[in-house]
Amino acid sequence: MEGVSTMRKSVVFFTVLLALLIISPLARPQTAPPKSGDANNQNAAPAAPADVDDWGHPVIAPTKGQKPAPAPRHDISGIWDPGIDPIRVIGVLGASAMPEDGKPQHQLPYTPLGREMLNRTKPTSGDRTVLPAETNDPVVFCDPQGMPREDLYELRTLQILPTPKSMVILYQFGKIWRVVWTDGRELPKDPEPRWFGYSIGRWEDDYTFVVQSSGIDERTWIDRAGRPHSGDLRVEERFHRVDLDHLELTVTIDDPKMYTKPWVALDRVPFQLQKGDYDVREMLCSPTDFAEYNKLIGNPVSERDGK
């Protein structure tokens, strides 16, 4: 049991913090969002976009420092935002629990076949990065990320919607969805491969929803760093409801053809619950947009002789 003095200090600290959090939004100037086509208001300060979504609605950041409310049972529904940490969440160096950063502890346990397949991939990130015009990353040609990469690269806002027989997960990145069947079925044996595979899920305990996926198209990369997988890949996802406002995702890769043992690709990445009216921005791979990007940046920056 804490001493009274320590407890009082904690109360004072949290009270002050709460007061500051309440005051700070009021101190922000109330700027109307700019209208598109607004005639040359060059001298006006742009609106604070971190506070306004694409509908012009204010986005209230979750307050910090409050005691977390208890997790509801058997419930991972909601709109979940993991933030934008480039290593841990966006996965710029590959699966964030085992990034491709050259460190020995992050070397994956490749089989000989796994290493051979790894060397065929030419990623634009991580230790083996190549120039944009030299990559064979399927995603830059707007192929689907598929599984497990949808969890391991550009993991953005998720919306989880339970139905009587499934859990549907909507992903901001790529604007895709997955259906995880909860009706007790087994994974199909030797099915037609899908980019996103086939998924089943069940509650392991009151707060942990575990998903198994297989039947994944071999063309997908495991992550941005170009780690390979075979048709035998099994992916386990553990969605753990920590408290009312937090969810954690852990992803494990199991592919005996490519890796001598299973490895954890994502380790308890935290998500914060958003309000029900939180607008999720669109993030799509548009071939037209990519062609424009390659014309202006990707191709010229890859030219080797500077001409």
Partner: protein, 139 residues
């Protein structure tokens, strides 16, 4: 040609050499990771799109030659957290941009910072931008 271009970049603009903390092998190997260049020019286009936003600006050297630069950021969903919007810049705006320049000497870069006509600064994510929701710049 390349030498003249490099001279144009050096003259009449401020060249900053920053010691940037490296995220090992982060992102694109096409850019210089350990030095940046600051250019001033007139916006010709601000493309607010996936995969990356692109700022195009005309930079005039001391001989009056105009070089079109293309400077990229991250995607819009990330950039809103650094203060950017679709309306942040428009053709005609005079801006000052600090970039990590392309290794091959082309007028292409990855944005580290933009200073808008009204003096407001926008950080590119680059290497040093905020990385967590908690660190979004406050107006």
């Amino acid at each position: 040609m390349k030498g003249r271009f490099l001279l144009c970049v050096a003259l009449g603009i401020c060249v900053l050499t920053l010691s940037l903390p490296l995220l090992a092998h982060h992102g694109n190997s096409a850019y210089e990771m350990e030095k940046s260049v600051t250019i001033k020019g007139t916006v010709t286009q601000w493309i607010w799109a996936n995969p990356h936003c692109i700022l195009q600006l005309d930079v005039t050297d001391d001989r009056g030659q105009v070089v079109q630069w293309s400077a990229e950021t991250e995607n819009p969903s990330s950039m809103v957290h650094y203060g950017y919007t679709k309306q942040s810049m428009k053709p005609g705006d005079q801006v000052t941009v600090t970039v990590l320049p392309a290794k091959n000497g082309k007028p292409i870069g990855r944005i580290v910072e933009v200073v808008l006509p009204n003096g407001q600064k926008l950080a590119g994510r680059g290497i040093q931008g905020p990385t967590k929701a908690d660190d979004y710049p406050k107006p």
